[in-house]
C-alpha cells in the first residue's frame, strides 16, 4: 500500500482507516507482507536514500526505513523483512517524522537570566550545570540530585546516564517516565518469574486460539499488533477474543466476550477467573507441581472469589465471568496481553500477576501461541528497564543481593559502596516528593514532560517552579516542563543519531543517523558524557568513568554488562543488526539467532542467587527478606502470587460520582510534542474531549459536542463531550493535551484542559506506578 498526498486538504486514507486493508491468514502460517509507505508530496521513491530504523512513537517497534533527500527526512516505509510489522506502519509512523523538521525545534541551549530563558552556547550552559552540581555535591551530597528520564531515548543514552548517575554522582534517585507506563509490567514479571523479561512473542498471535486483552486498547496503542490480530480474526481459524475494558474500544467491538467492568476492580475480576480455573479444574497440575510454588496460598486466597462475588464488585453478570473463565480454561493456546487498564489502575501489580498466574496454572508459557505479553507504553521503555535508568540496577541485577552489585562495581571499576544499593532505587513519584520537601535540589529531566504527564499537575507545577530547585531540561522542543527550567539543553532525536532500542517482545533494532540534528542540538549520550567529563567522574584508578566516545562503544560496554543476565546482548553487534534478520534477546554464543520465547523449559531466572527481586507483599510493597524468599522458592520456580481485592482508596460519592479514566488516542503520542507537529495527526485529533455514556449524558442534559466541566478535589477541566458506548459512571479523557500550544504555555490560562489536573497522587505499592484511572470526579455542562 503506497500513499502520497495528492490533496493536502483531504483526510488521508490512513487517518480515516488507521489499520488499512486486511490480509487474512490462517493459524500457524506466516503473517503476509504489506508494505506501507508515505513520502512527502512530489518526492519520487527513486530519488531518496533509505536508512534503517524503527518507530519511537509507540512501543510496538515497527521497523521503518527513513527516506532522505537533500539532507532532509522526506518520508518513511515499513520494513518488509521485519518480524514485527512485515512492512506495515501505523498512522503515527506514517506521519510523525515531520516533527523532526519543525521550525520550533530547540537549536541552542537556553539559560535562565533574570527570570527569562535566553539563548546561550554549550560551554556556558554546561558550566552553569557543572558549577551548581559541584557546589551542591560538596554541600549536600549525592542525595540532593535527582534524574528523571524517558522511554524515548536509545539504549546507549540510558546506559551512559545510568552509569553517570549511579557510579558518577552516586545517587539512587534515577527513574524514567517508564514508571508511568511500564513499571507494572516489569514488576509483575519479577514477582511471577523472579526477573524482568517478556515471556511471549508477537508471533504468538499467529498461533493462538484465544487472545485475552486486559486493559489493552491495542487498536490504538499498538496499531500494527492489532492489524496482526485483525488479520487472524478475519482469517479462517478465528481465535476467540476476550476484552476487559470499561470502554467499548475498537478491540472490544471485535470481542467474543467484552467485560466492561467498573473502574478499579480488575483484581476482583481476575481473582474470580482464577477461582473458576481452580474450581472447574482447568489446571495443568503436572506443570504446576513441577514448575511453580505458591499454589496452596493462591487457591486459599481466591477461595471465596466466586463469579457471583466478583459480579457485585465489578458491575458484571456472573455468567459473563463464568463464560470468560471458560474461554480461558478450554483453549489449548492462550495469548494474554496487558496494558494501562491494569497498570495504571488500582492494585496494578496484583492484577497483572494474576494474568501471569493464569498462564502458569494452565502450563501455557514458552510454546507457540501460549504467551504473556506484559506490554510497554513507550517505545524504548524496555531499555530504560534493562540499563537501570528506571529504578532498577543494570542488567536486571538485584539491588538487595551484594554479589550482582559487586559484579557491576567490577564492570564499572568503582568501589562497591559508590553504587547505592542499601535500598530500592528511588521511584519517580518519590523523586518528586523529595523535590517538594526540598531534599532534592537538582533535577535533570531528559526527554519527558512531567508538567503534563504526572498526576495532579497543579502540585507538579508548584514543585517545578520552586526557587530552590535547580532544573535542567534536555529535550527537542520547549515543552511545558522546559519552560520551568534553569537550563534547557537541545537534543538530537530519532533519525539524527545512531543507536539501538528494543521493543516489547525483545526485538532489538538499530536506528541509523539519517540526517544532521538542527542547529547545535546534540545526541543525548554526548550531553551526558560531556557532563561526566566536566564533573571529572573517574573510576577507582582515576581514569575517566565513561570510557566510550560513540554509540557503538556504549553498546559494546552494555553487552558486557548484560552478559550472563536474562537480557543478554552479548551475541549482538551493530553489523548483525544491519542485516535483515531480526534478533530477540537473549542472543548469546549458544543462541546466536536469539530467543523467540522465554521459559520454554520453565527455565526461570528465579533462583535466590540469580533473581532480580525477592518479591514484595503486593498490598504494602514491603520486600521479602532474602531468607524468606529462599525458603519460599529454593529451586527458582515460577511464583504464584496472591493478593486480596481491596476497594480503591478514593470512592465516588455525592459530590464526585463518576470515575475518571484517562488514556490514549491513536493519533497522538505522550504529550503530543511530536505528533501535534505532524499536520495529519494534529488535524485528526486537535483537542481533548470528554467521553461519557448516553445514559449519563442524558441525565446531565449534555449533548454531543457540548462543553462539559470535569472536576475532582484537585482541579477541573473543560472540554467538549463525546457520547460513546463507555460504561455508565465512567468518563474518559485523553491525557495527551497540555498547554504548549495554548496561550498558557506551561499552565492553563483560563479553563484547564490537561486530564492530569484531575488525577490523584497515589501509586501501586509494588510497582510504584501512578494511578490514572480511578479518580472520582464530577461532571456538569460548562
Amino acid at each position: 500500500m503506497s500513499t502520497t498526498d495528492a490533496d493536502p486538504a483531504a483526510v488521508h486514507p490512513r487517518i480515516a482507516d488507521p489499520w488499512g486493508a486486511r490480509t487474512p491468514y490462517p493459524r500457524d502460517s506466516e503473517w503476509p507482507v504489506r508494505v506501507d509507505q508515505h513520502l512527502a508530496p512530489g518526492v519520487d521513491e527513486d530519488d531518496v536514500d533509505w536508512f534503517l530504523s524503527a518507530s519511537i512513537l509507540h512501543s510496538n517497534g515497527d521497523e521503518i526505513d527513513i527516506a532522505v533527500k537533500d539532507g532532509r527526512i522526506v518520508g518513511v516505509r515499513g520494513d518488509r523483512h521485519s518480524r514485527v510489522n512485515r512492512g506495515r506502519l501505523g498512522p503515527k509512523d506514517l506521519f510523525g517524522w515531520q516533527a523532526n523538521a519543525s521550525p520550533e525545534r530547540l537549536t541552542r541551549p537556553l539559560l535562565r537570566e533574570a527570570g527569562e530563558l535566553h539563548e546561550t552556547d554549550w560551554d556556558t550552559a554546561m558550566e552553569r550545570i557543572v558549577s551548581r552540581s559541584k557546589e551542591l555535591l560538596s554541600e549536600s551530597g549525592p542525595g540532593a540530585f535527582g534524574f528523571y528520564t524517558s522511554g524515548q531515548l536509545f539504549l546507549e543514552d540510558y546506559y551512559t546516564l545510568s552509569m553517570m548517575t549511579r557510579a558518577g554522582i552516586g545517587t539512587n534517585h534515577l527513574d524514567g517516565n517508564t514508571r508511568l507506563c511500564t513499571a507494572t509490567a516489569g514488576e509483575a514479571l519479577k514477582e511471577s518469574f523472579g526477573s524482568d523479561g517478556q515471556p511471549g512473542s508477537y508471533a504468538d498471535v499467529d498461533h493462538a486460539d484465544a487472545i485475552c486483552c486486559y486493559g489493552h486498547n491495542v487498536a490504538e496503542t499498538q496499531t500494527v499488533l492489532w492489524m496482526r490480530m485483525l488479520d487472524r480474526l478475519s482469517g479462517p481459524d478465528r481465535p476467540r477474543l476476550l476484552v476487559v475494558d470499561p470502554r467499548r474500544t475498537p478491540v472490544a467491538r471485535e470481542a467474543n466476550i467484552h467485560l466492561a467492568l467498573r473502574s478499579g476492580t480488575n483484581l476482583a475480576l481476575l481473582n474470580a477467573l482464577v477461582h473458576e480455573l481452580i474450581a472447574r479444574d482447568w489446571i495443568d497440575h503436572d506443570y504446576v507441581e513441577a514448575n511453580a510454588v505458591g499454589f496452596e496460598e493462591l487457591a486459599g486466597s481466591v477461595e471465596g472469589c466466586t463469579p457471583e462475588w466478583a459480579a457485585g464488585i465489578c458491575g458484571l453478570e456472573p455468567r459473563e465471568i463464568s463464560a470468560a473463565a471458560e474461554l480461558i480454561g478450554t483453549t489449548d493456546r492462550l495469548l494474554s496481553t496487558v496494558l494501562q487498564g491494569l497498570y495504571q489502575s488500582h492494585q496494578a501489580t496484583a492484577a497483572a500477576c494474576q494474568v501471569n498466574n493464569i498462564h502458569i496454572l494452565r502450563g501455557m508459557l514458552g510454546q507457540p501461541g501460549c504467551g504473556v505479553l506484559q506490554m510497554n507504553g513507550q517505545p524504548t521503555a524496555q531499555n530504560t528497564r534493562e540499563t537501570g535508568a528506571d529504578g532498577d540496577l543494570p542488567g536486571f541485577r538485584n539491588w538487595a543481593n551484594d554479589a550482582p552489585v559487586e559484579e557491576l562495581a567490577w564492570l564499572w571499576n568503582v568501589q562497591l559502596a559508590q553504587i547505592p544499593h542499601y535500598g530500592p532505587p528511588t521511584h519517580a513519584m518519590e523523586i518528586f516528593r523529595y523535590c517538594e520537601e526540598g531534599s532534592i535540589r537538582f533535577l535533570w529531566v531528559s526527554a519527558t514532560n512531567p508538567a503534563v504527564s504526572l498526576p495532579e499537575l497543579e502540585r507538579i507545577r508548584s514543585i517545578l517552579a520552586e526557587e530552590r530547585l535547580f532544573l535542567v531540561v534536555q529535550d527537542i522542543f520547549l515543552t511545558e516542563t522546559a519552560r520551568f527550567a534553569d537550563v534547557v539543553l537541545p537534543a538530537a532525536t530519532w533519525g539524527e543519531k545512531l543507536g539501538t532500542f528494543t521493543n516489547a517482545d525483545r526485538t532489538v533494532h538499530l536506528s541509523e543517523k539519517a540526517v544532521d540534528p538542527p542547529g547545535e542540538a546534540r545526541p543525548d549520550m554526548d550531553i551526558f558524557r560531556d557532563y561526566a567529563e566536566r564533573m571529572g567522574f573517574t573510576d577507582k584508578e582515576g581514569a575517566p568513568l565513561i570510557k566510550w566516545s560513540d554509540p557503538e562503544g556504549a553498546f559494546e560496554a552494555w553487552k558486557e554488562c548484560s552478559r550472563g543476565r536474562p537480557c543478554d546482548y552479548s551475541g549482538i553487534t551493530y553489523e548483525r543488526l544491519r542485516e535483515p534478520h531480526d534478533l530477540q534477546w537473549p542472543v548469546t554464543d549458544e543462541r546466536p539467532d536469539g530467543t523467540e520465547r522465554l521459559y520454554a523449559d520453565a527455565d526461570f531466572h528465579a533462583h535466590p542467587d540469580d533473581c532480580e527481586s525477592y518479591g514484595k507483599d503486593l498490598l504494602t510493597g514491603a520486600p521479602l527478606d532474602p531468607p524468606e524468599y529462599r525458603a519460599l522458592n529454593p529451586d527458582g520456580q515460577a511464583i504464584l502470587k496472591a493478593a486480596d481485592y481491596v476497594p480503591p482508596h478514593e470512592q465516588p460519592g455525592d459530590e464526585h460520582e463518576f470515575r475518571l479514566n484517562t488514556g490514549r488516542n491513536i493519533y497522538h503520542f505522550h504529550t503530543r510534542t511530536k505528533t501535534a507537529r505532524a499536520p495529519e495527526l494534529q488535524a485528526a485529533a486537535p483537542e481533548p474531549w470528554v467521553e461519557l455514556s448516553p445514559a449519563d449524558a442524558e441525565s446531565l442534559g449534555i449533548g454531543e459536542g457540548d462543553m462539559v466541566e470535569v472536576a475532582s478535589p484537585r482541579g477541573s477541566i473543560v472540554a467538549p463531550a463525546r457520547i460513546t458506548d463507555i460504561r455508565e459512571g465512567v468518563v474518559f479523557v485523553p491525557f495527551h493535551y497540555g498547554y504548549w500550544d495554548t496561550d498558557g504555555g506551561d499552565s492553563p490560562n483560563g479553563a484547564a484542559r490537561a486530564a492530569n489536573e484531575l488525577t490523584i497522587t497515589d501509586w501501586d505499592p509494588a510497582s510504584k506506578q501512578p494511578l490514572y484511572k480511578v479518580a472520582p470526579v464530577s461532571v456538569r455542562k460548562a
Binding site: 542525595g143 520537601e437 531534599s439 482508596h649 497515589d762
Partner: protein, 161 residues
C-alpha cells in the same frame, strides 16, 4: 482461665494500632503512599477486632466492634493542612522517622499479644480461635514489616539531606 483477658488485650491493642496508623497517615499526608496505605491497614487491623468478637463470649467477655474513634472533623482538617505546610520543609523527615518507629513498636506489641493468645488457644485446644489468631497475626506481621520497610526507605534521604 484468663483467655478472656488476653482477647480483650488484643482487641484494645488492635484499636490503638488502627488509631495510630490513621494519625500517622494524617500527620504525613504529603507522603501520599503513607496517607493512603495507613487507611487500608487501619481497616484491616480493625477487622481483627470484628474477627475476635464471636470468640469472646466463650471466654465470658466481649470486645465490641472494630470501629475507630469518631471523626474529629475540623481538627483532622487542621492536622492535614499543617502536614501539607510542614511537608514543604525537609525537617518533617525526622518526625516521619519518629512516627514510623512508634508505629513499629505499637505493631510489635500487637504481634506479641497475638502470640500469647495463639499459645493459649493451643493450650485450651480451641481450634476455631487458633485459626482466627493465625490469620489475623499474619496480617499484623505484614503491617509490622511494612513499618520497617518504610523506615528503611525514608531514612537515607532524611538523615543525609
Amino acid at each position: 482461665m484468663k483467655i478472656g483477658v488476653a482477647i480483650e488485650a488484643v482487641a484494645a491493642a488492635e484499636r490503638e494500632l488502627a488509631d495510630e496508623l490513621i494519625a500517622v497517615g494524617e500527620r504525613h499526608k504529603p507522603h501520599h503512599d503513607l496517607f493512603q496505605l495507613t487507611k487500608t491497614l487501619a481497616r484491616i487491623e480493625r477487622g481483627h477486632v470484628d474477627a475476635l468478637a464471636p470468640h469472646a463470649p466463650r471466654y465470658e467477655t466481649e470486645v465490641g466492634d472494630g470501629d475507630g474513634a469518631p471523626d474529629p472533623g475540623p481538627l483532622r482538617t487542621a492536622v492535614e493542612k499543617g502536614a501539607e505546610l510542614l511537608g514543604r520543609r525537609p525537617e518533617a523527615g525526622l518526625l516521619l522517622l519518629r512516627d514510623l518507629r512508634r508505629l513499629h513498636v505499637c505493631a510489635a506489641g500487637v504481634s506479641l499479644d497475638w502470640v500469647a493468645l495463639g499459645q493459649a488457644a493451643q493450650a485450651a485446644k480451641d481450634a476455631e480461635l487458633l485459626a482466627t489468631v493465625t490469620a489475623c497475626h499474619s496480617e499484623t506481621l505484614r503491617t509490622l514489616k511494612w513499618t520497617t520497610y518504610r523506615l528503611k526507605e525514608a531514612a537515607p534521604q532524611v538523615l543525609t539531606s
